[in-house]
């Protein structure tokens, strides 16, 4: 502390310490909050086709196409420790081939703003809904679950599931037309 550089060094080190402490306090002030929201989901216009699965084993597999409406109010989730949300829609079902199948059919990044309401109508799936086999036809209960990562400014990556799920029975016949 006897010369300028030494004092500047001490000052900088302590400043960084204080900034780390403020960031840690920010994390602690938000870690125990409740980050669940409910959603309003409707799935329409499901069509199943039996196609050859070129990517894996060239066998015939079920490919489903659908459109959905999704309305969620995320405003309550955003605080000074939330940078953005990574929201995705998963179709979960049981089949003869696998006990648990989880297919992500759509995702979206939702950034922080004053009021964040997602009101999507007639959204097509972003990713292929291809079954591992041909078990989607006549399936009684395919469950659509909305999950999201809460991406913080400081802290761990939190995964939250929305409070309600949608169970949908799938069509009993294949669609043969080309138009989805």
């Amino acid at each position: 502390m006897h010369n300028l550089l030494s004092r500047a060094n001490s000052l900088l080190a302590f400043t960084l310490w204080v900034m780390a402490a403020v960031t840690a306090a920010c994390f602690l002030s938000t870690v125990f909050l409740d980050y669940t929201v409910s959603n309003h989901l409707e799935v329409n216009d499901i069509k199943i086709r039996n196609v050859r699965d070129y990517a894996t084993d060239d066998k015939q597999a079920d490919l489903a196409t659908l459109a959905f409406n999704l309305k969620v109010d995320f405003s309550r989730l955003f605080n000074w420790n939330v940078k953005q949300l990574f929201v995705y829609l998963v179709a979960e079902y049981k089949s003869a081939e696998n006990a648990v199948n989880q297919v992500v059919i759509w995702d979206r990044i939702v950034e922080r703003a004053e009021r964040v309401v997602m009101d999507e109508i007639g959204v097509k799936t972003k990713y292929y809904f291809l079954d591992d086999g041909a078990h989607l036809l006549k399936h009684d209960n395919v469950t659509f679950v909305l999950r999201y990562n809460v991406i913080p400014n400081a802290g761990y990556l939190r995964l939250v599931q929305s409070t309600n799920q949608l169970v949908v029975p799938f069509p009993t016949t294949y669609t043969t037309t080309r138009r989805s």
Partner: protein, 125 residues
């Protein structure tokens, strides 16, 4: 540090930024207190506005203000100047044996004198 000082323009090189010990102690206390306060104030402002950036901006602003108070060698930080001893004579500054012996001998001689005085004091009692 010396290399950096050599890079400065010549009039600046002789400018000393030393503080005395009391000044250093005071400077350290000042920066610790002001930065802690700016941290606490920053946290509450950030929490109130729900913006982490505001909290960190306040800490940085506090650091800049503290730098103005602590970094330059202000007179109030130089109130207790260090009293340096006058330099000793050039010969006795050499770490050679004879002068060490002299010191040891001087100490022994002083001790002898002191013991003698004590004895005499005892005798006179």
């Amino acid at each position: 540090m010396d290399g950096m000082v050599a890079m400065l323009p010549t009039p600046l090189q002789n400018w000393s930024t030393h503080l005395d010990f009391e000044g250093q102690k005071l400077a350290e206390r000042i920066y610790k207190i002001t930065l802690t306060i700016s941290g606490v104030v920053g946290f509450f402002v950030g929490f109130w506005t729900q913006q982490l950036s505001y909290a960190l901006y306040i800490v940085m602003a506090g650091a800049l203000i503290t730098a103005l108070v602590v970094l330059p060698p202000w007179p109030f930080l130089r109130k207790n100047p260090i009293e340096w001893h006058t330099p000793a004579k050039p010969e006795s500054m050499m770490p050679s044996q004879p002068s060490d012996d002299k010191v040891v001998d001087k100490k022994a001689a002083d001790k002898k004198k002191a013991d003698k005085k004590k004895k005499e004091a005892k005798k006179s009692k």
